[in-house]
């Protein structure tokens, strides 16, 4: 856990003036969560982060890391117990990847065999073959590969707390998304307490359990991504998040959150009258046709079979597209728009039909937050 209590930083400028880079910042990053420090350039994100490991001496306030007051710790020991990733990656060009990863374990005097073995394991964790990369030098790696090594280097001594200053800033958007996903997957297992600086809203929404929005050194709002997007505390935050902030919430919800899981379905051999009855009973205009194992195969529309006879297989249409239950709503909505449809069949990883999702259900889910707020206000 990281706790900041009325933390302030005042820089003296050469001209004799002062800059307040952090102004009475109080916040808490709970154990095992990622907190993203977000805000426009120069708002004090980096300054706040660097005060935590003492790279920038604080002017005022208190910092507790893992329950201990940092004023009472030797800064060198404190830093060895905190993983640190910088935007420029900062791998040491004179050391092999292996030695780079083992910098902190070596400083801590760990057994070399143990730390070298760990370096190999960590490389595998980010999909880099230790056989190839352990003995390479940083200049022999691509930008994305270097960035991965930068991250696992911070994890080498297994610190409970990580500080990351725009850790994925130096790579192209496609690679960045891949590394973000890898990192989130890793975080599910390692559960580090992380303070993460970013100036990219989408990255913040994706990575954060909590987002801290800064402006001119002040902490303006500290809440979960969904809460922040749904209820920005003031106009500055609202405009910083963008007028499309409601759409951004789509990526926070997954298809399974709003999927109508009712299992009505027909098979190819069923009679169309059965399909008709099921649709009328459920009040649906469409019904999905599944194969013998339960995989989504197609659908029939109520109007198409209003007054025909025969079996479903003679009247069904192919599904224009399906969506995975693990996808986010952004993907679902984008598919709906692309195929000009108001509903999608949802399938699991193996293609089994799980339910369906409608535009109405999505807008209902997004609106729920606002309605709750209105109810609370009305009471």
């Amino acid at each position: 856990m990281i706790t900041l209590d009325k933390l302030s930083k005042v820089f003296e400028t050469p001209g004799g003036g002062t800059v307040i880079a952090a102004d009475q910042v109080s916040m808490e990053v709970p154990e095992g969560e990622i907190c993203v420090l977000l805000g426009p350039s120069g708002c004090g994100k980096t300054t706040t982060l660097k005060m935590i490991n003492g790279l920038i001496p604080k002017t005022n306030g208190k910092i507790h890391v893992a329950g201990r007051d940092t004023d009472e710790l030797n800064p060198v020991e404190l830093r060895r117990s905190i993983g640190y990733v910088i935007q420029q990656i900062g791998l040491f060009p004179n050391m092999t990847i292996q030695d780079n990863i083992c910098v902190v374990p070596d400083l801590l005097g760990w057994d070399k065999n143990k730390s070298r073995k760990r370096a190999a394991e960590l490389l595998e964790l980010v999909n880099l073959d230790p056989g190839i990369f352990l003995n390479r030098y940083p200049k022999e790696l691509s930008g994305g590969q270097q960035q991965r090594v930068g991250v696992i280097r911070a994890l080498a001594a297994d610190p409970p707390v990580l500080l990351m200053d725009e850790p994925f800033g130096a790579i192209d958007p496609i690679n960045r998304a891949v590394i973000q996903d890898e990192f989130l997957k890793m975080q599910k297992e390692i559960r580090k307490t992380i303070a993460f600086v970013s100036h990219d809203i989408d990255e913040a929404i994706k990575m954060a359990d909590k987002i801290a929005i800064f402006r001119d050194g002040k902490l303006e709002q500290y809440s979960s991504p969904d809460d922040l997007l749904a209820r920005p505390a003031n106009d500055f935050i609202a405009s910083f998040l963008g007028s499309d902030r409601t759409l951004k919430r789509l990526s926070l919800l997954s298809v399974s959150d709003v999927m109508l899981g009712d299992q009505i379905r027909v098979t190819a051999q069923d009679d169309v009258s059965r399909a008709r009855d099921m649709m009328r009973e459920a009040g649906h205009k469409n019904i999905v046709m599944v194969g013998p194992q339960g995989r989504a195969r197609g659908f029939v529309h109520l109007n198409d079979i209003a007054d025909v006879q025969g079996r479903v297989e003679e009247h069904y249409q192919a599904l224009p597209t399906v969506v995975n239950v693990h996808d986010d709503l952004r993907t679902a909505v984008s598919r709906m728009f692309r195929h000009d449809t108001t509903w999608l069949a949802c399938v699991d990883d193996d293609g089994f039909f799980k339910g369906f999702i409608t535009q109405r259900a999505i807008s209902h889910a997004l609106g729920a937050t606002y309605r709750d707020a209105a109810t609370v206000a009305a009471k």
Partner: protein, 248 residues
């Protein structure tokens, strides 16, 4: 075999060919005209004796220059010296514009004549490029590397030894190479202030208008400087880790 290995081998082959060619050339001249052979016959004792002096002058003066220049460069590059280091380097730069002969002459006024003033003069001439390159090399290590190192819990000493110096090594080595080249080129002048060395044969040869004697000094001097640079180039290639060595 990678392209790099092939290039490396080619490189080595050209050098070997060069040395063999040189030996052959020398042998031919010695055999057919007997010219170099004569020189060797007349002057071998002098050459060996003076070359020893010569090499000692080089080793002692440049060794001392490295011993003093590297710490001085490190010291100037520290943050707390930032206010003075630019001035100090300006003075050093002015120092390099003084002809070495003048430095040698000046050292006579301080230390008289003989081995010591010669070493001193050479030391001064050699010191400048070393200090300058050590300083520059260390200053050029990116600030973010030092910050990453500090943030990971390295002490200033650790940072100097395992981040700054290794990353400045190539530039430092380049300084040492330049310095030694200057040094070897200047050592013949040491004779003029009583320091000995192969300069004795060269200058006496000039005085007596005796080209054989002159060559007896000049050829070994040329070979020695080639050898020195060759050895340093090899050292630069092999001692500097691959990650920070643009040659590898």
């Amino acid at each position: 075999m990678s392209i790099k290995d092939t290039l490396k081998q080619d490189n080595i082959r050209t050098r070997i060919a060069f040395v063999i060619g040189l030996v052959f050339g020398v042998g031919l001249m010695a055999g057919e005209q007997g010219f170099l052979g004569d020189i060797w016959r007349y002057y071998s004792e002098d050459i060996i004796y003076l070359a020893k002096q010569h090499v000692i002058l080089v080793l002692v003066s440049s060794g001392l220059a490295i011993l003093v220049g590297v710490p001085a460069g490190i010291w100037l590059s520290r943050d707390w010296m930032a206010r003075y280091s630019e001035t100090a380097l300006q003075i050093f730069n002015i120092g390099t514009t003084i002809p070495t002969l003048a430095i040698l002459a000046l050292s006579i006024t301080l230390l008289g004549i003989g081995f010591t003033p010669a070493v001193f003069g050479l030391w001064v001439a050699t010191l400048l490029p070393i200090v300058r390159n050590v300083y520059q090399g260390l200053r050029e290590v990116p600030a973010y590397l030092k910050e990453a190192a500090t943030g990971m819990g390295m002490t200033p000493r650790h940072i100097l030894l395992s981040v700054e110096l290794p990353n400045a090594l190539y530039v430092i080595f380049a300084g040492v190479r330049t310095a030694v080249a200057v040094n070897v080129g200047t050592v013949p002048l040491a004779f003029l202030i009583g320091g000995g060395g192969l300069g004795e044969l060269i200058f006496t040869g000039i005085d007596l208008n005796d080209p054989q004697m002159l060559l007896a000094g000049a050829i070994p001097v040329a070979l020695l400087s080639m050898l020195a640079d060759f050895l340093l180039a090899k050292a630069q290639y092999w001692l500097i880790p691959r990650g920070v060595n643009p040659l590898r």
